[in-house]
Subunit: 188 residues, 2 copies
């Protein structure tokens, strides 16, 4: 089966043309003229990547408890529960970005970070990678962020994950993945 | 803690103005003039939703095995491993869409679908919901889809998830979440 996958990787479609077709302050939409290895031709669209990765952090309070934040999401015009996250600044390491975001969003630094699997989001359209960290040995330290309002920090118990998973404001796939990966890591 | 979250929900920012600022064949980018409950004013951007939900399906072969597909993703210009998925057609139920996508992408229908938690993707910018199904009692049946090339179908063993999670072409957060949710459901 890995042979099949390998063959596929060897025959990526050819990009005959790529063109910027729409642009806003934050987004650049690129149109691609593609030819697949079977000769099929298609026009696809994708978001041009900023090249900046992102981080998400699971703040571990102790063996019983972790932290979540509730933050306004414009896409859904609602407050969503999830883990602290943010873009990596130019020249910054993912670890540094993780600690900075923690200090900005929840007012804690972490003495120890453990990296989990990095995740992508909708790779059909985006090229963005998010590095996931568990943060241990938290200590109070705040940094001024660019949030329009303070985030609501929520303490949650590891033995109450069923309730969290049933909440309608906890649905973001990267936060759900991070939760399961952290739980697995803690029980290894 | 739910009290804190509730207060936040009661004080959503006011959208003073929304305006289409860029548009392509697939995407509409909307600019929002927001005022948060603390008086802070910000300009945000988001993708205008098509209103169509999506489905993702974990095809369960038996207690030992499930199926994945390897599909070209333009955002990353790479083949990515994940679960069959697709948009819900107008007037179609999520269950019907799930069975249709299965028939189009892997050449099987399912006699039984079990729905798991629905997931969102980057709600800061998007309003899209994906309904996740486990598909049981598969039978061969194909439908013509709109794929430019046949997808590579990959059989995977439930007892080999560590290898899957270590693969660089299995990173999509909704597929990772779906995998963990299905595993949990199977071992309940």
């Amino acid at each position: 089966m890995s042979e099949q996958t390998k063959n596929k990787k060897d025959t990526l479609p050819v990009i005959h043309k790529s063109e910027l077709v729409a642009q806003s302050r934050l987004f650049k939409i690129e149109q691609l003229e593609l030819e697949f290895s079977n000769g099929e031709q298609r026009t696809y669209e994708r978001m041009k990547s900023s090249g900046r990765g992102a981080v998400m952090i699971i703040p571990i309070v102790n063996e019983q408890e972790f932290l979540l934040v509730s933050e306004y999401c414009a896409g859904t015009h609602s407050y969503e529960l999830g883990f602290p996250k943010g873009l990596i600044d130019p020249g910054e390491s993912p670890e540094h970005a993780a600690n900075r975001e923690l200090k900005e969003e929840i007012g804690f630094g972490a003495k120890r970070l453990v990296q989990l699997k990095s995740l992508s989001s909708t790779p059909s359209y985006f090229n963005s990678i998010m590095h996931i960290f568990m943060a241990f040995d938290l200590y109070p330290e705040s940094l001024e962020g660019d949030e329009p309002e303070p985030l609501t920090v929520v303490n949650w118990q590891w033995d109450n994950l069923e309730e969290l998973m049933s909440r309608e404001d906890f649905t973001e796939a990267r936060s759900v993945s991070a939760l399961y990966m952290a739980k697995e890591k803690l029980t290894l």
